[in-house]
Symmetry: C2
Subunit: 215 residues, 2 copies
Amino acid sequence: MAPESLRSAARIERMTLTGKPRGEYAKTASRKREILEAGIDVFSTSGFRSGSIREIADKVGMSQAGLLHHFTNKNELLAGVLELRDNRSRAYIDFDAPLGVEALRGYLGLIEYNTSVRGLVELHCVLSAEATSHAHPAHDYFVERYRYVVESMTKVFRRIADAGMLAPGVVPENAARALIALTDGLQVQWLLDSSSLDMVDEARRYLQPLLLVEL
Amino acid sequence: MAPESLRSAARIERMTLTGKPRGEYAKTASRKREILEAGIDVFSTSGFRSGSIREIADKVGMSQAGLLHHFTNKNELLAGVLELRDNRSRAYIDFDAPLGVEALRGYLGLIEYNTSVRGLVELHCVLSAEATSHAHPAHDYFVERYRYVVESMTKVFRRIADAGMLAPGVVPENAARALIALTDGLQVQWLLDSSSLDMVDEARRYLQPLLLVEL
DNA sequence: ATGAAAAGCGAATGACTACTAGGTTTCCGA
DNA sequence: TCGGAAACCTAGTAGTCATTCGCTTTTCAT
């Protein structure tokens, strides 16, 4: 029994079951984007470590080797996926908005957007948990990302305080950190059972008592 | 080059690098416990899908096949690990405590305990994120677990309300869900950078304003 | 002391993985 | 239209994985 024949058979079956048929070459830029898009899909459901390049390649209708022509290795692909995700959510919130409350409204908007892109939420939850391990290739990325997000959100609350719109006794840094923790935690519960809660409502309920202005 | 010799060489090297030397047989009960303990270690850093039975077997100083004599397959091992973790944290909180506030104090105690067992926290974060995927063997377990925990915590807040100790406007179910989401989210941040926050303080800061009594 | 049950082992199976070498096909600018 | 570069492929390398088979060793109740 030649092992090649088995492998080929398996591959052909996979091709017929999933993804597009292999076709003509694609224009450079769009192809990379397609791969990253598929990467979000795969890494979000299987994580980085057990999500495979072959699965991603199948989704865009090309071979493993073909994919690795665009990203020299798996880690580089992960970096690309994280960057794409970052860009997508950055559009929703302006940490430097002159009115701090506007930034918070943007954050609520981001949460609402998230409910329409389950894959991105999954990606964040799965990868951030995986990356708590020091050996994970995205460990440093997530450490730095949280540092940045908490710091930026702290500044938002400070600006709100300066405008005299923060409830007395609220410490900007603690409020920021808790808000981010809360939304992260809500995401897990929402992913497990999306009918059980409304993330936007829940976040608003936390935020409103901290403010002296209507959100 | 015979592939067998390479595999043997690799295994021997692993044995000398990690784990205990293989020794005498162990008494049944304690051995299973040992395996589960090692399972927590491995699944917490690598997750279930990419954590391997071999790694666990190495840690307790036995062969893969020997381990599978105690747990017929990997899923059963996972079930055992989750059960062990459950039992360990159940000791800390009594959802049915006559005074609801006592249950909340117990919950804070559990959070404090968690800071001393990083492995268990990692296990929860990594597995709950992994298990958001519908195909994951622990998916149903986590859905049910969150349903139970949120419901139980809701009852705690309801009992506090009945005792007239809940701040006006606080809805038990929302407070419960948010408290759990908050602690989950704090855990991720703590795992990524444990020096950046104190989980107990942060949780207390959320809880205190909801109550009319000192925690 | 003995015999059955439990604990453990090595080796194999068939599947999967990331990544590479070397070749072919397609595209696009000059 | 022609040549080089980029895109893509097949086939392989050198592993990893969970699970199973058949076997030996140990333990423990009678």
